[in-house]
Amino acid sequence: MAESKKTGGATTAAPSGNAASQAPKGTLDGRCPKGPIADRWTQHKFELKLVNPANKRKYEVLVVGTGLAGAAAAASLAELGYNVTVLTMHDSPRRAHSIAAQGGINASKNYKNDGDSTFRLFYDTVKGGDYRARESNVHRLAEVSGNIIDQCVAQGVPFAREYGGYLDNRSFGGAQVSRTFYARGQTGQQLLLGAYSALSRNVGAGTIKMLTRRDVLDIVVVDGKARGVIARNLVNGKLERYGAHAVLLCTGGYGNVFFLSTNAKACNVTAAWRAHRRGAFFANPCFTQIHPTCIPVHGDIQSKLTLMSESLRNDGRVWVPKKAGETRPGADVPEDERDYFLERRYPSFGNLVPRDVASRAAKQVCDEGRGVGSTRLAVYLDFRDAIQRLGKNAIAERYGNLFQMYEKITGEDPYRVPMRIYPAVHYTMGGLWVDYNLMSNLPGLFVLGEANFSDHGANRLGASALMQGLADGYFVIPYTLGGFLATEPLGSKVSTDHAAFAQAEAETKERLQKMLSARGKRTVDSFHRELGILMWDHCGMARNDAGLRRAAGRIAELREEFWKNVNVPGSGTELNQSLEKAGRVADFLEFAQTMVHDALYRTESCGGHFREESQTPEGEAQRDDQNFSHVAAWEFTGIGEKPALHREELSFEYCKPSQRSYK
C-alpha cells in the first residue's frame, strides 16, 4: 500500500515517461465465479457466507453518498439489520446528481414481446462498452435489471403507463428492442426519490443515522483495511471521525475534471481520489463519455452544460455549412450549401449513430472551421424538414419540453431556427477498481455506481447508468457485503482514537490550512476553468501522444501554482463554500495527471477513448485487442509520480469482440 506523507503542494513535474510501454507491476484478479455465465451469480450468492441476523446490528457500515447507489445500498442494508451511517455533502439526500438523469432505465423484462432477454441485454452492454467490461459483472447486471423495476414500482415510482395500466417502454441507442422504462423526462428524479423514500423510512425508524452537509475528505486505512472516514461538517467546519467495519463509496463520477460538463457543480473525485491515495487502485480513468447533444458553450462565465435528450436525433438533422467561415444565419443557408455530415458519412445509421461517433464527427467539422454560432463550436440540429413533414404540432408533442428548455437557455426558438448543439462531458466509465463483489483492492472498501469502473467498459449505453447504480445498491451489495463481514470478527472495528484516524485528521487539517493560508491572487474557479480547458483540449474527444504529454506538464505547473497562488477567503471553522471548492479542485489537479497518464498508456482507441494514432483509414476508432484487452488499474506512488500499473486481463467467452461499424 502506498501511503504518501505528502499533503498536497509543490511537487515535481510530470514524468509520464513511457506510459505507452509501461510494464505491469502486478496482475489483478476480478474474482469472478466460474461456470456457465447464467449460473454464476446464483451460485456465487449461495457460496457467500452469511452474517447471523442477531449479529448484523453489531456490524457498522458507512455509506458515503446518497445517489441511486448510496441510497439504495443504505436502505437495503438497514433493512437487513446492519448498523448504517450515511454521509452526504448535500443539505438533503434527495439532491444527489442521479436526480438529473432524464431518459430512462433499461431492464430486460421483455414486456414488449420483441425478443429481449437477459442474454440480449448482457450482449448489448458488453458490445456497447466496446469489449472492455467484465462479462460476469455485466451478466449479473442484466439478471437483476427486472428486479429493479419491480422494486421501484412497489415504492410508488410513477413510471409511464399504457392505457391498460401496464408499464410502457421506449427504445434507446445501442439496442434494437424497447426495454427502457421511463417517467417522462425525469426518470432519474423519480428513481432517486424512490430510493430516498426507502432511505427516509429507515432514518425515521432509527435504523439509519443520516448525516447531511458532510464532505468526506479522507479514508482511514488500518493494516491495509478501510476502517472509517474523516469528514468535514460543512456548517461549522469541524473535522469528524467515523469508524466502521466497512466503508461504501457511492460518490459518483469525475466528469467535473473538465470544469464544464453536464454534471452538477458539486460532483467531485475527492473521496475516490483520497481512497486512491490510501492505496485503492484507480481503473481506466481515461474512459469518459462525451454526449453529442448538449447546448453549446456561450461565454466565459458559463458554469455548466445542459444536456438535450438524444431522442432529438430521431427527427432532427445534423449539419454545418459546406463553406468554412459562413456568416449567414443557419436558416438562410441554401440547401446545396449544407453538409449533413452524419448522413453523408454513415448512410445506414445517419443521425442515429452512437454517442461517441456523433461527437467525434461534430468535433471534426468544427476543427475544419465549419462550426456555427458565435464561438464556432457548435453544429446545427435542424427540425425544419420534420416540421414540414409532420407539422409543428407533432414535433411539439414529441419534444415540446425540450424545445422549451432550449429556448429558455438560449433565447432562440427552435421551431423557427435550427438548434445549435455541441458535445459535452457527461459520464465517466472509469473509477475505483473493484472485484466481482464490488470490493476494491483494500479489504472493507466497497465502491458502487458511477464511482466504480466495472460494468460499462469503454462506453456506456443510454439508460444503463440508473440500472447499474440501483443494481449495485439494491441487489448486489446486500449479498457481497455480508460475505465480507461474515469473515470479519466483530471486534475488528477500530476505535476512532486509533493513530490512523488522528493522522488522517491531522493531514486533512494541514491541507485545508494550507489552502486557506496561501492568500494568493487567483480564485479557485479560475484554476478549475484552466484545468478544464486543458483537459478538454488534450484529453477530451480526441487524444494524441504529443497533446497528452503537453497536458501532463501543464497540469503539474498549474498544480504547483495552485498551492502558491490560490485565494480562498474566510476560515475553516464556518460554512465556507470557497474552501469546499478549493479542496475539490486540488484533488482534480492531482487526479487529472493520472487520467492523462492512462490515456497516454492506452494507445488504442475504444469507446469514448479516441487516440488519433489508432484509427481506421475512414477515421473510425480502431481497437487493439492484442495489446489492450485488459483493465488498467493504477496504484498511487506519489503526487505527479508515474503510477504503478496493475492489469486485469479480460476474456470474452460469450461475446466475441468485433469491430463496430455504422456505415
Binding site: 436502505a75 437495503s76 448535500h90 443539505d91 438533503s92 434527495r94 439532491r95 446528481h97 436526480i99 438529473a100 414486456y111 427486472g146 428486479n147 419491480d150 422494486q151 414500482v153 412497489a154 415504492q155 410508488g156 410513477p158 413510471f159 403507463r161 399504457e162 392505457y163 391498460g164 395500466g165 408499464l167 417517467a183 417522462r184 428524479q189 423519480q190 430516498y196 423514500s197 426507502a198 427516509s200 423510512r201 425515521g204 447531511t212 452538477a264 457543480k265 456561450h298 461565454g299 462565465i301 458559463q302 458554469s303 455548466k304 445542459t306 444536456l307 429558455k408 437557455i409 438560449t410 433565447g411 439494491y474 441487489f475 446486500p478 480564485t523 474557479d525 464556518e574 460554512l575 463554500q577
Partner: protein, 255 residues
C-alpha cells in the same frame, strides 16, 4: 441595444448573514458586464469572483445541478421566490429577462422552520423529516412482486407523476405568508394516495406527515395560492385539497 454587447449593469441588494446567530443585513453591490445569456446563478458566480478578487467574502448560496431538478437552489428575488418567471427555478432564470440597470433585492427563503445558515443558505432539513415521518411505501428490498402484476390507470399514474415532480426546494414555504408547507407535504401525500402501492399506509401516512409538518413550525394554509404561483414545477394546490380530504378521512377512521 448596447447591453447586448457590453452586458447588463445591475444594482444588487444582497442579504448577508455570517451565521445562524448573526442578525444579518443587506449590502449593496454594483455589477457590470453581465451577459444576458448567463443564468441567474452565473451572475452570482460573477459577483463572487469579483468579491473574492477585491478581498471580500463571497455570497454563500445553495445550488448544484443548475438544470432545475435537484431543488438545491433558490432565493427570493424582488419579493418573489426563484424570481419573476413562472415555472422556473433560479438556476434556469436567465439574465436576459432583466432590464439594463435593474435593481435586484436578494433574500434567503425565510421561514421559522428554515433557519438561515449563512447569507442565502437555509436549513431545509424539516422537509426531510416530514418525508421520514411517512412519505414512503414500506417495502423492503426484495419483497416486491412483478412490476406488471398491479395495473395502474394511466390517468392516475399521470396525476401521481404531476405531484411527484416536486423538487423540494422550499419556494412554497418562502412565498407563503404563513410559511406553510402544505404544498410540499400534499404533493407527496397525493403522489402515493393516487397509486395502488400507497393504499395500505394511506391513512397512517397523511396523519404522520401532517403531525410532523406542524411539529416543525410550519404554518397553516389559508388558500392564498401564492405557493402554486411560486412553484417552479407548477405543482397544483389541488393537492392541498386532496390532502385535506385524506387527513379528514384518516382522522374519522381513527377516532
Amino acid at each position: 441595444m448596447s447591453s447586448k454587447e457590453q452586458g447588463l449593469h445591475l444594482v444588487l441588494e444582497v442579504w448577508r448573514q455570517k451565521g445562524p446567530e448573526d442578525a444579518g443585513r443587506f449590502e449593496s453591490y454594483v455589477l457590470d458586464s453581465v451577459s444576458p445569456d448567463n443564468s441567474f446563478l452565473e451572475m452570482l458566480d460573477q459577483l463572487n469572483e469579483k468579491l473574492v478578487k477585491e478581498g471580500q467574502e463571497p455570497v454563500a448560496f445553495d445550488h448544484d445541478c443548475r438544470e432545475g431538478i435537484c431543488g438545491a437552489c433558490g432565493c427570493v428575488v424582488n419579493g418573489q421566490a426563484h424570481g419573476h418567471e413562472k415555472g422556473t427555478t433560479l438556476c434556469q432564470l436567465h439574465m436576459r429577462s432583466f432590464p439594463n440597470g435593474a435593481k435586484l433585492v436578494l433574500e434567503p427563503f425565510r421561514a421559522t422552520a428554515f433557519p438561515v445558515l449563512r447569507d442565502l443558505v437555509v436549513d431545509r432539513s424539516a422537509f426531510d423529516r416530514i418525508i421520514q415521518a411517512g412519505g414512503f411505501v414500506s417495502v423492503s428490498t426484495g419483497s416486491a412482486p412483478d412490476a406488471n402484476l398491479v395495473p395502474v390507470a394511466k390517468d392516475n399514474a399521470e396525476k401521481a407523476m404531476d405531484a411527484a415532480a416536486c423538487i423540494g426546494c422550499g419556494a412554497c414555504v418562502a412565498s407563503c405568508k404563513n410559511s406553510s408547507a402544505m404544498l410540499f407535504t400534499s404533493a407527496k401525500v397525493s403522489h402515493l394516495a393516487l397509486l395502488p402501492q400507497g393504499q395500505v399506509e394511506r391513512e397512517r401516512r397523511v396523519a404522520a406527515m401532517v403531525a410532523q409538518m406542524d411539529a416543525e413550525g410550519f404554518g397553516a394554509c389559508t388558500n392564498t395560492q401564492e405557493c402554486e404561483a411560486a412553484c417552479p414545477k407548477e405543482i397544483s394546490i389541488e393537492n392541498i385539497a386532496r390532502m385535506n380530504r385524506e387527513f379528514f378521512k384518516a382522522k374519522l377512521k381513527r377516532l
